[in-house]
């Protein structure tokens, strides 16, 4: 994130996302990890790289922010980290259960298609509508306006 070349930043993002996927694997939620790799790495990072190519030369150096902004941002981030860590430390989490999480695709699929109160069918439908809206919206925004016919 502190490189000046944008393409390298995209690649570093890719590595970070892969690291997060690895974390999911270690936490035994393989399905989520798979989704992460497919959607994030394969979709979003590719999209980002694509837009980099669309908008500028990939090799051009990016400008840096002003010094005051750097200082303030660093300060803000450090403050945030310290505060949150303190809060987490002081918080008494309840008894950690020793049961293992069962996140097999079978279980996930059963729950997702469950249309009772415990199921997630409704959020599933809502998300599909959202994706539709996002698709239509982005096409509309990125549409080039036609030049006027003389």
């Amino acid at each position: 994130m502190t490189t000046t070349k944008i393409f390298r930043a995209a690649v570093f993002l890719l590595f970070s996302l892969m690291g997060v996927a690895g974390l999911y694997f270690w936490m035994h939620v393989e399905f989520v990890a798979a989704v992460q790799i497919i959607v994030y790495v394969g979709g979003i990072v590719v999209l980002i790289i694509f837009s980099i190519f669309l908008t500028q030369e990939a090799g051009v150096e990016m400008p840096k922010a002003t010094n005051t902004r750097l200082i303030f941002s660093t300060l803000a981030s450090i403050c945030g980290i310290v505060l949150t860590t303190l809060l987490i430390d002081q918080y008494a989490f309840p008894e950690i259960s020793t049961m293992a999480l069962d996140a097999s695709p079978n279980n996930i699929g059963t729950n997702m298609m469950d249309y009772t109160e415990k199921g997630y069918a409704l959020p599933f439908e809502v998300i599909s509508i959202l994706l539709l809206a996002a698709m239509v919206g982005s096409i509309t925004i990125a549409l080039k306006s036609k030049p006027e016919e003389v």
Binding site: M1, I6, A10, L13, S16, L17, V20, L23, Y24, M27, H28, V29, V32, Q36, V39, Y40, I44, L47, I48, S51, I52, L54, T55, M62, A65, R69, L70, F72, S73, A76, S77, I78, G80, I81, T84, I88, F93, P94, I96, S97, M99, A100, L101, D102, N107, I108, N111, M112, Y120, P123, L130, L131, A133, A134, M135, G137, S138, I139, I141, A142
Partner: protein
């Protein structure tokens, strides 16, 4: 050494603030978008961790994570569309150049 919830939470917190630092500092709009992705990922880690360590009999956190990933994808797409539109107007993707909503 046993990895407890606190460690994972610390990881996700630092990821969150790194993403925030990137959001404040970067001048390129696309790198700002990348930082936003980092923030979203940290939240995802949080959800999964809480689900695994505190409520293992339910799958709420996992589902939330999956939905967030989907939403993030949609949002990234819309953001890219906006960036391209702005690029067409200003011929630059520097946030400092797009100060149109000034006083």
């Amino acid at each position: 050494m046993e990895v407890t919830l606190t460690h994972i939470l610390f990881l996700s917190t630092s990821l969150f603030f790194i993403g925030m630092y990137g959001l404040f500092t970067r001048r390129n709009m696309i790198t700002m978008l990348m930082a936003i992705e980092l923030i979203l990922n940290s939240v995802n880690i949080n959800f999964v961790a809480f689900n695994k360590y505190l409520y293992p009999e339910e799958l709420t956190g996992v589902f939330f994570t999956i939905f967030i990933i989907a939403i993030a994808a949609a949002e990234a797409a819309v953001a890219i569309a906006i960036i391209i539109h702005i690029y067409r107007d200003h011929k630059s993707i520097d946030v400092e150049d797009s100060q149109d909503m000034k006083y």
